[in-house]
Symmetry: C2
Subunit: 434 residues, 2 copies
């Protein structure tokens, strides 16, 4: 049973419009969701724990009376890790160790320099005090996501990482708890939705107020994060996941088909695109897709994704392929080519670049080391993978010597008077030497 | 004529609540503004230049027919710079040079490392392609703001910096244009408001689409920036400006009074707070304020700001003073003390730290070097001064050797199967050696 994936030619007259249509994505802003989230956030802000308990009982089919029933302790996390089958525990710890080692390279240090007159300038870099990590419940609860969000915070030096994860019907995901233990999470509350986001943003008697909230969630969670932004920091609001595979035609087409599947299996809105200068190779991959699809557990999702948002693009040249890369600014870019290094200087926009035939995106999703939280929907044009730098912040340092202040005072005074800010000018002028 | 500034004791039983009330600030989200901005953004998105011209004529009392009439060229910018009085031009160029020198220290480089089995991991750092810089028109048009926003982008390597500045009634601010010349701005359109933000975010036939929009603006501009976030990056939405001065009592009280004025003169909502362990010194500063206020050009604004949001706080100890600093997480922190270095390790949250009696905030606002775009309203808990890093972004690099992919494949396969993502698992397994 074959599957119909659209084919495009990069030389077609309407290729630009085709790409715009293919890539267009806007999350629907539903006023119903907006209102529901506003009500929940306001209730938690004014009534604290009481509201959190109410919403948790209602939305997660729970029946608790106190916040203590909604908190797990470190022993429970450690027990989850200890209780895993050895193969899984080893894999989780190996992944955590690699992710940690990679992120150690991202830690930034304070710096300063001293000018000739003794004036000191620089930046002091400090970790955030306390971070909230949202982990979705149910089927979308990914232990790898716990590692990828918590480890950079831990490496940054964040003292307290507060995780929230809803447990609909009371069901705990042991792998998620094990990942929390492996990643150094400080506290875990089994709450979710907009109520969990509001509790983290404003604090309750039980849930401590955090400085930043990270982690994926459904439309209620995303809407709540947008709403509390400003009171706390947030990470990017992610769109559907996407991959762009660029292949020179010499990789096993089954490998490429499976790489596309690995993106498409996330959900129907996920986007998998293959670009090649070799038209025959596109045919081969299409044949592999047709043959392999019926063997996949999530074939319905994969089919919907590939038919709805997938594409096989024949590029007329390497330059065309590069233009497509930079037009898409893909979350994941797989350069399945003979000499990926030679492509690299011309790749301006991508969340993560998987270089060479061996580097399947799936390796990066779990354990290569780099973060799997990446900018989606073309936002790689202006944003970066989640990293240690997202859990550090900077304070400018300025310490003027008497001589330095005198010289700077003259410049500042002139400019301040040009802006009609005379208190600024006079404050600077006090520091000018007679 | 004396002025009434509130006095607080850090040991008071209700000090926490007092601080919460003093610091509370929320920007009002007005549904009228929201609707007006939505309409403008949609019109510009669908009708492009035509809508931009319409809104500009309507809101800025202009009468133009083509976009060409709304663009300035490089010669006009250079002429503005050349035409300044020598003192002003020298001050502007001196400030630009210092800001540039400081920001050169912030540029980040790509990095990579190779593991024993040949696997390469790293991050590629690239500048954004094109950035939009919003500059308010009329009285709030600050040339220093042009330098502070454009120079970090320029240092980052951004190829095209597109500035927009409304010119109500056709009036051009020569200092602003001169600053654009000094800062390396590429193109200038004399448009403003939500229509300018929309044009930058989505592009029109004339205005190129940018990747990020920075710069201050009124409530329409701020609302529009929030709305287009996602399509483009944006900087922080700033609240009112604030300063916290901590003084050991040995600085000239006139200097401290003027430093407080320099913040208060921005607008009625600006916040200036003085903390000292010396109650007598608070009295001396109050006396200086009473004496100096009548000599200030903007005394009405200063009075409203100090009476409405200012405070003189008597701290019982240095530890108390430090707790107040970290509670406020001030945009500007002036440590007007004998040994500011000894305070630094305990200061966890501040946008910029002005150390020592000579380092007036005004020096940093204009020409010390560090950026004057700083996190307000306590957001220094999780965010940083505007910097070169805001105009660079990162792409993760992963290049697995055959051996590396084989080992990683085993770990990824185990974890993927734990998450029921079997396409991920099989994609990884293809790379495992037999």
């Amino acid at each position: 049973m074959s599957i119909t994936i659209r084919r495009f030619e990069s030389t077609a007259a309407d290729f630009d419009q085709t790409m715009n249509a293919l890539l267009s994505w806007e999350s629907v802003s539903d006023t119903g969701v907006q209102q529901a989230v506003t009500d929940i956030v306001n209730a938690v802000r004014s009534r604290g724990d009481e509201a959190v308990i109410e919403f948790t009982n209602r939305f997660d089919r729970m029946n608790v009376e106190t916040m203590a029933q909604l908190e797990l302790n470190q022993e429970q996390l450690q027990a989850a890790l200890d209780g895993l089958p050895e193969l899984q525990r080893d894999a989780l710890l190996a992944a955590a160790a690699r992710v940690r080692a990679y992120h150690e390279h991202q830690r930034q240090d304070s710096w300063r320099y001293t000018e000739a007159d003794g004036t000191v300038l620089g930046q002091k870099v400090t970790p955030l005090d306390r971070v909230g990590l949202y982990v979705p419940g149910g089927k979308a609860a990914y232990p790898s996501s716990v590692l990828m969000n918590a480890i950079p915070a831990h490496v940054a030096g964040v003292q307290e990482i507060v995780m929230v994860v809803p447990t609909p019907g009371g069901e705990l995901n042991q792998l998620v708890l094990a990942a929390a233990a492996a990643a150094g999470v400080s506290r875990v509350f089994t709450i979710g939705g907009a109520q969990a986001v509001a509790a983290l943003a404003y604090g309750t008697a039980t849930v401590p107020r955090v400085d930043k909230i990270v982690g994926p969630g459904n439309i209620y969670v995303a809407t709540a994060k947008r709403m509390v932004f400003g009171a706390v920091g947030i990470d990017m609001i992610a769109g559907p996941s996407e991959i762009l595979v660029v292949c020179d035609g010499a990789t096993n087409p089954d490998w490429i088909a499976m790489d596309l599947f690995s993106q498409a299996e996330h959900d129907e809105d996920a986007q998998a695109i293959l670009v090649s200068t070799e038209a025959d190779f596109l045919d081969e991959v299409q044949a592999s897709i047709n043959r392999l699809l019926p063997t996949m557990e999530r074939q319905d999702i994969i089919r919907a994704s590939l038919e709805g948002r997938g594409a096989l693009i024949h590029a007329s040249s390497r330059e065309d392929a590069l233009a497509i890369i930079n037009r898409i600014a893909p979350e994941h870019l797989e350069l399945s080519v003979a000499d990926p290094e030679s492509w690299l200087p011309d790749v301006r926009h991508a969340g993560a670049i998987f270089m060479g035939r061996y580097t399947a995106e799936a390796l990066g999703d779990y354990c290569a080391g780099p973060n799997h939280v990446l900018p989606t929907s073309g936002t790689a044009r202006f944003s970066s993978p989640l990293g240690v730098y997202d859990f550090q912040k900077r304070s400018s340092l300025i310490m003027c010597s008497a001589d330095g202040a005198s010289e700077l005072g003259k410049v500042a005074s002139t400019l301040a008077r040009g802006e009609f800010l005379t208190a600024h000018a006079r404050s600077a002028e006090y520091r000018i030497k007679d």
